[in-house]
């Protein structure tokens, strides 16, 4: 379980960070800090759970690293319920009444649209955080080591393409 949990960390961090963005937004519109914290948690926790699940799917080989389409599909399905959970739970905690949106279908459709943008940002950050994190935990976690190896192979494939070019131009070291 701990091993799976470690695979989930990068996605969970990105999800939780997004929750704090939402909490920060609540703060700047003038809500009290307690309410902002509720917003951060009720939105951040579902996103963190889903982000973690995405990491586990990548770790188990069900989703290929860095590829956009599966990430977009995953969040197209997952993001609207996460946002709905935030809406309902924050209403329940703060007002004692579940805050169901008046136009549920419209609400979910809108969030599904936003999810595509969210998927781009999520994947972008996840792919930048994950390799560094996996390198740290791979020693005690074979699954993490295996996933890290996949990132290395992928990076090596890209580097090899560059290297082939360099071998034709030995004096070059490359700028970008």
């Amino acid at each position: 379980m701990r091993r799976l949990g470690e695979l989930a960390v990068p996605g969970a961090v990105v999800g939780m960070a997004a929750g704090f963005v939402a909490g920060g937004l609540a703060l700047v519109v003038g809500q009290p800090p307690g309410w902002a914290m509720v917003t951060a948690l009720t939105f951040g926790v579902p996103l963190a759970l889903l982000g973690g699940l995405y990491g586990v799917l990548v770790g188990s080989g069900k989703v290929r690293i860095g590829v956009f389409a599966p990430a977009a599909l995953f969040w197209f399905v997952g993001f609207p319920p996460a946002r709905l959970a935030h809406e309902v739970l924050s209403g329940l905690v703060l007002g004692g009444v579940a805050g169901w949106p008046s136009d549920l279908v419209g609400f979910l459709a809108y969030q599904a649209m936003v999810s595509l943008g969210w998927a781009i940002g999520f994947l972008w950050l996840h792919e930048r955080i994950a390799p560094g994190w996996l390198r740290r935990v791979r020693a005690g976690n074979p699954r993490a080591a295996e996933l890290f190896e996949r990132y290395v192979v992928h990076a090596a494939a890209l580097a090899e393409a560059r290297e082939r070019r360099r071998s034709r131009h030995p004096s070059r070291a490359g700028r970008t």
């Binding site: 939402a22 972008w124 560059r162 070059r172």
Partner: protein, 501 residues
Amino acid sequence: MDSSNAPAASSSESGVTPPPSAERVWQAGRLEPMPIRKLPDAPPSIHLLGPTVFLVALGVGMGESYMWPRLVLLFGPEIRWLFLIGVTLQAVVMLEMARYAMATGESIFFGAARVFKPIMWFFFVVAILVYIWPGHLSAGAAALERITGIPWVVSACVGLVLVGLLFSMAKVIYPLLENVLALLIGLLVVSTSIVAAMVGQWSDVVSTITGMFHFGYFPEQAMSPAWFPIIVGSIAFAGPSGMQQMWYTLHLRDSGAGMGAHIPKVRGLRHAGEEEEMPSRGFMFDTDDADEMKKWKGWRRWVTFDALLLFWGITMLVTISFTVLAQAASRQSPDVKGLIESGEREAALNAMSDAFASAGGPVLGGVFLGFIALIGLNATLGLFDSFSRGQSDMAYHFVPGAKKFGVSKLYAGFLWGVILFGIAILLWGPADGPGAILDVLAFLSTFAMGAYCVVLLLVNNRMLPKPIRPKLVTNLVIGFGAVFYLGMLIFSLVKFGVVVG
């Protein structure tokens, strides 16, 4: 002038040029023929995180965050059908630019010279006329002034010098900068999505999206000498603007896409001494070889994904998000429209800030101005680098005696030239404000875009082997682009007699 010799089997995979008598070449135009080389393998899978992503992120600029939300506030979401046409056209243009660059490793400027050299000189001059003005940075710096109180001329001048130092020291600094900016851009996309998820609603999206399909909508007020030229310029600023598409061919080459793998990279001034010699022309692959054509199709899929998801998708996402917020603000503070109509250009930036402030509090208004400042700096980084790449490429190949300097030193020369001129303009020039510079840029960009559509038709249909030439539908779309951009430009001149309102 038309191409004649069909390319044949590759003569060498090592890059060692065999004796001229043994070499198979592709003759394109009257310039030096292209030797046949192997096409590298396309990237193994469709990945979001390619080198182009970074460039695309820089391409999301003032048009998306400033000009279009401003037009929507003034004329309503229906005006966005012009945006849809502008961005879609540019996605097709991008694919066609990539066709020539990936097939030859040459820039589109070199391709234009193969058709008729004066066309290339035309772009050389237009680039100088349009891009020596420090418009993007000055707009961003004005936003920074509102946050920090630092006079915008000071921060703009400091920013220009920093850009020059950055690209001169490039080999050391650029990877670090790329990582930092990539994280910031990732955060920006995530935050924009979260903000949109929190404050937007379905009806905003419905009006924004249906607004994109109101083909032909043009309110009477927009048909005025004051607004029509700005709208024309804003269409040019939808997505990668002006000559950025032409420069994209140089970035593709530098990232090693397609036959660009056979061309050396441009280096920062500090490392110019390590530069190897730039070949005097590009290369062609064997289009009669089925394996090579399979690899070519792989490269086309790769670049199509970039065009559709990144250029088209991200541009749409950012603009829709900003527009949704602007609409919300317009409902809350009806005087926003009045501020823009009053004729005070800077009121537009302030109104955009108010839009964010009314949607999410005063801090969010400041955050918006921070975005504008960051986007301004990003755009300047991208534009100055691209300008210098384009000019040094043309100068290296076609200015007599320029080869002895090498591309990297020419690049540095153009970069520092545009920076010093920019500082002089900011300090003593005719620029009466950031908005004014931006509008001039926008309008002149339109002309370049109409012209490069014509060049694309000529280059891709006459300079490439038949199996990799564009299809009829693509040619029709690019032809429509030329008519669209140049037609609106001429209409504006004839109908209103003005270049910029």
